[in-house]
């Protein structure tokens, strides 16, 4: 698989390590009333679709950035690559808007 890094261009997926479901960006608030349940779900219950999946990859043997890769789990085709930082900021902005 080739991951088209937003800053570095196409890189072999072997340079990266895989973490999983990009939902892991959205850490629950530690003082929330249901923190125990929320952290349980956050840590253990992941999206696992057959089809498009948004997932976290770490460029360990590269610039050590975290990426959000959109990949089809039935074909391994990668359709979108974003910096995780940008995704996290956009998520937070969306939260503030609500």
């Amino acid at each position: 698989m080739i991951i088209n890094h937003p800053l570095l261009g196409p890189r072999d997926a072997q340079e990266f390590t895989y973490l999983g479901d990009a939902g892991l960006i959205n850490r629950p608030y530690w003082l929330s009333e249901n923190a125990l349940r929320e952290f349980h779900d956050y840590l253990h219950l992941r999206d696992n679709p057959a089809g498009l999946h948004r997932e976290l990859w770490f460029h360990e043997q590269g610039d050590r950035s975290w990426l959000v890769v959109t990949r089809d789990t039935t074909t391994h085709e990668i359709t979108k690559v974003e910096l995780a930082r940008d995704v996290a900021r956009a998520n937070r902005a969306a939260e503030v808007m609500q």
Partner: protein, 416 residues
């Protein structure tokens, strides 16, 4: 029809015309007491033990493709009872005991071969870990022997003992472990279940559940609605997809694991060998092919095929352990989709929906579990209580803090 030597002689004298199909091909009925989703090893074993041991009646197994087309027909056929933790080892020991009596029980030649499994160690720390594991195994009624370098050399003289980086310091030998003909397991259970009245319905994909007031009433399928008092889900790599139809999210990711087989060679590996310094394990099939594999690819996948980096890693590891491997030609490689759980251990449990039960999360080790998983799932379906050896396999164990993490890796499925 019972199989026997006498029967074989009779058939060979009469042109093999009297064999007949091993199971029926029935149309689905309107309703059953028990519907098992998934005609892999686990689903078929569940139906078999439900009918045989627990007097279950009106049972159907629904399979979206053909039985044996999933992981039960794609694995590297290793069976063993060499786990460390209390939640696991009694279960796998129970499974190995069932394997030991399986062929007589099923009247079916599944080629159960207890040819021994040797886990190699390369450092002092690994030897300590092997000794500890061996003791845990023996405490749970399994068998284990710690070999030194000479002991390993006597068994497998062709291994690379003088590897400067990873010298072979010995190994943990589990003599009762071995291999089984995987397809025959599916077929044997299917035949046994069919003989006890179970309807095995192929080309029947479950597309939804009918659930009212928190109670399951049956399943929607590509062959219409089928009513059921109890539904047991046993779909291996498809667990998340199927349970999502009941609105559940599981502590599971689906990953691809590859396997390889070489051309047929004269017998030279009598047992199963696992490398302690790289991702590689190997055995030799009765046809002579070297059957080997390594690590999972490491990312979510439903593609049933892997990528080249893992191929390279497995072959490199293999070459560093068995240099002679480089002389053999590779015939085939393939991949299967496994349900990797958050602690690397499985689930056999009720769900919060009445009448809906789940068996899954077997990772890359569910083949050896087939008999006991079937038995324990049948026990749960019939009695609503977990079997003695499977009571740790709860869906809520991450909430209660009772994870069964053999490797101590935490909630990271691609590291288990």
């Amino acid at each position: 029809m019972r199989y026997s030597a006498l029967r074989l002689i009779k058939e060979s004298l009469t042109g093999h015309k009297g064999w007949g199909p091993q199971w029926r091909d029935p149309d689905p009925k309107e309703a059953y007491d028990y519907v098992i989703i998934g005609g892999g090893g686990h689903g078929l074993a569940t139906a078999y033990y439900l009918a045989k041991e627990f007097q279950g009646a009106r049972i159907a197994v629904l399979e979206k493709g053909w039985i044996g087309g999933g992981n039960v027909g794609r694995n590297t056929t290793i069976i063993r009872s060499n786990y460390l933790l209390d939640g696991n080892e009694p279960f796998y020991e129970f499974s190995l005991k069932l394997w030991e009596g399986l062929e007589q029980d099923l009247n079916y030649n599944a080629m159960v071969s207890q040819r021994g499994i040797l886990n190699l160690v390369h450092t002092d720390a690994q030897r300590d870990a092997a000794r500890r594991r061996g003791n845990a195994m023996i405490l749970n009624g399994s068998d284990a022997e710690l070999l030194d370098t000479d002991g390993v050399r006597a068994m497998y003289p062709f291994l690379n003992f003088d590897n400067a980086r990873f010298p072979i310091k010995g190994g943990l030998l589990h003599r009762r472990g071995g291999t089984v003909r995987h397809d025959a397991v599916a077929w044997g259970y299917a035949r046994g279940a069919d003989q006890r009245g179970v309807d095995i319905i192929q080309n029947c994909e479950v597309t939804g559940f009918r659930i009212e007031n928190g109670k399951v009433l049956g399943v929607e399928t590509s062959r219409g609605f089928i009513g059921a008092k109890k539904v047991g889900v046993s779909v291996a790599g498809s667990s998340s997809r199927v349970m999502a139809m009941a609105g559940m999210r599981l502590p599971i990711e689906s990953h691809v694991l590859q396997a390889f087989v070489s051309e047929g060679l004269k017998p030279f590996i009598p047992g199963v060998i696992t490398y302690g310094a790289g991702h590689f394990y190997c055995s030799q099939s009765d046809k002579g092919g070297l059957v080997f594999g390594g690590d999972i690819d490491g990312y979510n996948s439903y593609a049933q095929r892997g990528n080249l980096p893992v191929v390279e890693d497995v072959i490199e590891s293999g070459m560093s352990l068995i240099p002679g491997l480089g002389r053999a030609r590779l015939l085939r490689s393939w991949g299967g989709i496994m349900d990797m759980s958050m602690d690397g251990s499985p689930f056999i449990d009720k769900t919060h929906i009445e009448g809906l039960y789940f068996n899954g999360g077997w990772c890359y080790g569910g083949f050896k579990a087939t008999p006991a998983a079937g038995f324990c799932f049948a026990h749960l379906l019939k009695t609503d209580r977990p079997h003695e050896t499977a009571k740790a396999y709860r869906l809520d164990r991450f909430m209660t803090g009772h994870m069964i993490d053999e490797k101590g890796q935490g909630a990271q499925p691609n590291l288990h």
